[in-house]
Each structure stands twice: as structure tokens, then as C-alpha cells.
């Protein structure tokens, strides 16, 4: 199992979520260290997205505690979590549909920096424009600079969703199925871009993913969600070899294969 984390950036204790009679999360304990790259796997309905929604403040937990850098943030709304450096992307990209990519990003920068009277200032500063152009370029979508986001291809939408999350300067980024809806031959390409950028900025990443090849390739640590709890927590090899996980999530063929790391 995972080794104890010394000074966790995110710590979750006894996190529970019930919707009426349905228990979506039944007691999650987790400590995330700075710089980790963690993959979250699990069948549909295992509680992965609920977990992301609660940690980022979209839903309130029924029970349990969430701390960020040792400070209790349980039940605080998304805007406060964002200001504490916890950001996320979405299964369904959340963009400003009537604006162009560049406008989306400039506005994201302006909104993320806002404070009181600065809201009354013009968002179109030369500095923000430059940063927005750079952001689009770094994620390889500069060609779509002036396209309205309603017209973008799915892959670009997913990337822009991440770029917008990064605009809020996260310490910890949660990616909710960053490659859903993307053709399998393009998934590695997109994940390469995202993970490369995150590593460069030293951002800690948790990503929810169904594609086990991607999990093997990018995750240093894997959490397997099963019926609202963490069934296994450890390295890729450990988790993929775990009996319950193999039966319920990964499938038998994969456990017999050697985990494939980036260096192999």
C-alpha cells in the first residue's frame, strides 16, 4: 500500500456522501503529497466524480473532513477552493460558448485575479493577452485562437477546459476524465501535452480515467474506487494486481502483463 505522506497538500478523512438513501461515498481516507501524479480508476457509479465534486466544493460532504495544506476547508464553495489552489477540469467541458478561445482565456485570467475594485478595470491588458496567447500555444491549440468555443472539435474543447483551470494557478489539479469522448489514437497525444505542462509547473495532479493504458503510462500512484470506497491504493503494479480490483475494474489479462512505465 501507499507510504504515509509527510506534509500532504490535500488530506481527506472519513469522507462520506449520501444522496437520500443512496451512499455514494462511504468513508474515504486519503493523503496527497506535493508533486504526486495519481490516477483514479473505478466502474461507473463507483463515486469518482462525486469525490472530485466534493473535494472541489461543488457538493457538500455528508460527513468527514477535507484539509488543504493543513487548513480545514470542508464544505467551502468552489470559488474558495479555487482561491486555495484546488482547481479542476470537467467530464463535460465547461467553456463560455459565445466567446472565442482567446476571449475565454483572457476572461479566465481576469476573473481569477479579480479582487474588489479590479473588477471594474478593463480585462484586456497587454499582459493578459500575452499570457493567454502563450497558454494556448503551450497546449498546442493556438490555431483555434479566434474560433468560438461552440464550434471547437472535442479534443480542443477538452484541452481548453484544462487551460481555463490552469488559468486560476492551481497547486492541485483534478482532471475528471480528460480523454472522454476522444478517439483512442489521440488520447496519448492529449495526455502528453497536459501532463508535460503540469510537470513543468510542478502541479500535483489527480486524474480520473477509464483507459487503463493511460493510467499505466502516467500515474505514479493509483486509487481504485469500488462502491464508494477506495478498494486499493498503491503503485500501478500493486493496484492492478489486487484481487478485487482485477475482478471488478481492470480485468484479468492486464494483471498478467508487466506494468509499462514511461522509461521502459
Amino acid at each position: 500500500m501507499a507510504e504515509p505522506v509527510a506534509a500532504p497538500i490535500l488530506a481527506v478523512e472519513g469522507l462520506q456522501k449520501r444522496f437520500g438513501g443512496l451512499t455514494a461515498l462511504g468513508g474515504i481516507d486519503l493523503a496527497v503529497g506535493k508533486g504526486e501524479v495519481i490516477g483514479i480508476i473505478g466502474a461507473n457509479g463507483a463515486g469518482k466524480t462525486t469525490f472530485v465534486n466534493i473535494v472541489t466544493g461543488y457538493l457538500k460532504p455528508s460527513d468527514g473532513r477535507i484539509t488543504v495544506n493543513g487548513i480545514d476547508v470542508t464544505g467551502l464553495p468552489p470559488r474558495v477552493m479555487t482561491r486555495r489552489g484546488i482547481c479542476r477540469s470537467f467530464q463535460m467541458s465547461q467553456l463560455f460558448a459565445s466567446l472565442t478561445c482567446l476571449e475565454n482565456l483572457v476572461l479566465a485570467h481576469a476573473a481569477a485575479e479579480n479582487g474588489g475594485w479590479k473588477l471594474l478595470a478593463d480585462p484586456w491588458t497587454a499582459d493578459r493577452l500575452a499570457r493567454a496567447e502563450e497558454g494556448l500555444a503551450r497546449f498546442g491549440i493556438a490555431d483555434y485562437r479566434d474560433a468560438r468555443t461552440a464550434t471547437l472539435p472535442q479534443g480542443v474543447r477538452k484541452l481548453l477546459d484544462v487551460v481555463l483551470a490552469v488559468a486560476a494557478r492551481p497547486h492541485l489539479l483534478l482532471l475528471d476524465e480528460p480523454t472522454s469522448g476522444i478517439a483512442s489514437d489521440q488520447r496519448f497525444q492529449i495526455m502528453d501535452v497536459i501532463m508535460g505542462q503540469m510537470a513543468e509547473c510542478g502541479v500535483t495532479v489527480l486524474f480520473v480515467e477509464h483507459d487503463m493504458d493511460l493510467v499505466e503510462r502516467y500515474a505514479r500512484r493509483v486509487l481504485a474506487f469500488l462502491d464508494g470506497r477506495i478498494a486499493a491504493d498503491g503503485s500501478v503494479a500493486e493496484v492492478f494486481g489486487h484481487d478485487e480490483v482485477r475482478r471488478a475494474i481492470v480485468g484479468d489479462h492486464r494483471a498478467t502483463r508487466r506494468p509499462m512505465g514511461p522509461g521502459q
Binding site: Y58, F90, Q91, M92, Q94
Partner: protein
């Protein structure tokens, strides 16, 4: 003691009136997601048509009892005719636009229809008292109540029961319930959601017109009655939760009783009380009493 009985009976009669007016409005919203401001016109046209028919009947020397026949006639003619015209002429072309645009369109229709009333029937009130007294009176605990007014409670129970039965036990009703509950899922199960729209709109119209026609003998039929009806019906529908039939019943009772208390004890705050009840409910239940808040999937 006497005052509380009066308040209770007045409240129940008023609640019955509100329920019949609001039922059509909430049904239309539940299925079509249109807040039909022109519902007030169904009410007004129903009342005016009833008044015209009533005067024709009594003018021809027929017995007053025939006047009761005029009520369903007026409701069906106005609800079916006006409802179908509005649906096919305007609302059909607004599918896919947001709820506010649809409400604005019905507001425009309301403006037109409200001013059609004086064009058709003139500016003066029309007498409709002829059948108000024919049912006699009842003595309840020493208080005298007019039976026609009491019969409104019966009407509300009958209309409510028929609607409830129709929604649960007929094929069409089940489709309507499915659409109210979850339009997308209903569509996924192969229900052509839009095919039920004209029928539902016409039924909502008939209910609104029925309320107007049945009320006509109890009220003064004059220009402006539609506005009053729609504003109160809106408060009822919001309290109960837009689109909820049981909500309309509870909302009608809450508003009806609150108003009766105000009218008898503090008449200057009548309108204030109704909207205060609404504001209070919304403070604690932002979507009304019976509607489920919709969580966005992200």
C-alpha cells in the same frame, strides 16, 4: 368562533378558485416549460363567453338551469379554440428558445388578448348574477353561505380528482407525467414529447377558461379580471413548485387561507400577505414546495 369559521370557509372557497385557475398553468409549465402569462386570458375569455351565453339563455326566456350548461360550453370553446390558436400560431415556433423568451411571447399574447376584451365586449361590466342565487343557501354553524360559492369547492375536488385519475390511469396521462418528470428520458424512451404539446396546452386552456366561466356568476365581469387571475395563479404555482399538480393544491390552500385571514383581520395587507407567503416559501425552498431542484451534471 364565528369569525374563524368565516375565515375557514372563505379561505376554502378562495383556495378552490385558485386551484382551478392554477392547475392549467402548472400543467402547461410542467410539460411545455412555458410559463403561460396568457393563462389570464383563458380566464377572462371564459368568464366573458359564459356571461354572453348566460344573457342569451335568459334573454330567450329559457329557465335559469340552462345557465349551468353554458359553463362547460364556454370552457371548451375558449380553451380549445384560443388554446389551439395560440399553440399553433405562436408557441410552436418558439421550441428551442429559452423559457424567458417563451414567457415573453405569452406576455405579448396576453397584452393583445387583454385589449381585445373591451374591443369585443365593451368597457362596461356584464351582468352575470342570474344563476348565483338559484342553488339557495346553507347554514353552517349559524353562518349563511351561498351554495353556488360552496359548489366551487366541489368543482375543485372533481377537477382535481379527474386530473389525478387522468394522469395516473390513462396512457396519455402517463406520457404527460413522464414528460414532466424527465423530458430527456421520456424522449429517449421514444415518446414524441412535442406531440403532446397541443393537447396539453388545450387542456390547460380549458381549465383556465372553466375557472373563469364558473367564477363569472360570483364576480363582476369587467376588463382586467384576467390580470388578477394570472398574478394570483402565478403565486400559487410558484409556492407549490412550477409544474407540480399536488403543489398547486397545497399552494392554493396556503394562499387561499392566508388571504382570508388578511381580508377579515387586516384588509389593507391583502396582496402583501399573498406575496409574503410566496417569498417566505422561496426563502426556504428555492424551487417551491414540491418541485425538485435541478442539479446540473458536470
Amino acid at each position: 368562533m364565528a369569525i374563524s369559521l368565516t375565515i375557514l370557509m372563505d379561505g376554502l372557497i378562495y383556495a378552490a378558485w385558485l386551484f382551478v385557475v392554477a392547475l392549467g398553468m402548472t400543467l402547461i409549465f410542467g410539460v411545455m416549460r412555458i410559463l403561460n402569462v396568457a393563462h389570464g386570458s383563458f380566464y377572462a375569455f371564459g368568464a366573458y363567453t359564459m356571461a354572453t351565453l348566460l344573457n342569451l339563455i335568459t334573454g330567450a326566456g329559457l329557465p335559469f338551469a340552462y345557465g349551468f350548461l353554458a359553463i362547460p360550453l364556454a370552457a371548451l370553446a375558449v380553451g380549445g379554440g384560443l388554446g389551439t390558436m395560440m399553440e399553433t400560431g405562436v408557441l410552436r415556433w418558439l421550441h428551442g428558445r429559452d423559457e424567458v423568451a417563451a414567457a415573453l411571447a405569452t406576455f405579448a399574447l396576453f397584452l393583445i388578448l387583454e385589449d381585445m376584451v373591451p374591443l369585443i365586449w365593451g368597457l362596461d361590466a356584464i351582468p352575470t348574477y342570474q344563476i348565483y342565487g338559484v342553488l339557495g343557501t346553507t347554514d353552517i354553524g349559524g353562518m349563511i353561505f351561498n351554495n353556488y360559492e360552496l359548489s366551487f369547492i366541489l368543482l375543485a375536488i372533481v377537477v382535481g380528482a379527474i386530473t389525478w385519475w387522468g394522469l395516473r390511469h390513462t396512457r396519455q396521462g402517463k406520457i404527460v407525467l413522464a414528460v414532466i418528470h424527465d423530458p430527456e428520458a421520456a424522449q429517449a424512451f421514444g415518446i414524441n414529447v412535442r406531440r403532446v404539446f397541443p393537447t396539453v396546452f388545450a387542456i390547460g386552456g380549458v381549465l383556465g377558461a372553466l375557472a373563469g366561466a364558473y367564477s363569472a356568476p360570483m364576480i363582476t365581469v369587467y376588463p382586467g379580471i384576467g390580470v388578477e387571475a394570472v398574478i394570483l395563479a402565478f403565486a400559487v404555482v410558484v409556492i407549490g413548485g412550477l409544474g407540480s399538480v399536488p403543489g398547486a393544491m397545497i399552494g392554493a390552500l396556503a394562499v387561499g387561507l392566508a388571504r382570508a385571514v388578511a381580508v377579515h383581520l387586516l384588509p389593507q395587507v391583502e396582496l402583501f400577505v399573498i406575496y409574503s407567503v410566496m417569498t417566505l416559501v422561496l426563502l426556504f425552498r428555492p424551487s417551491g414546495l414540491f418541485a425538485k431542484p435541478v442539479a446540473r451534471r458536470i
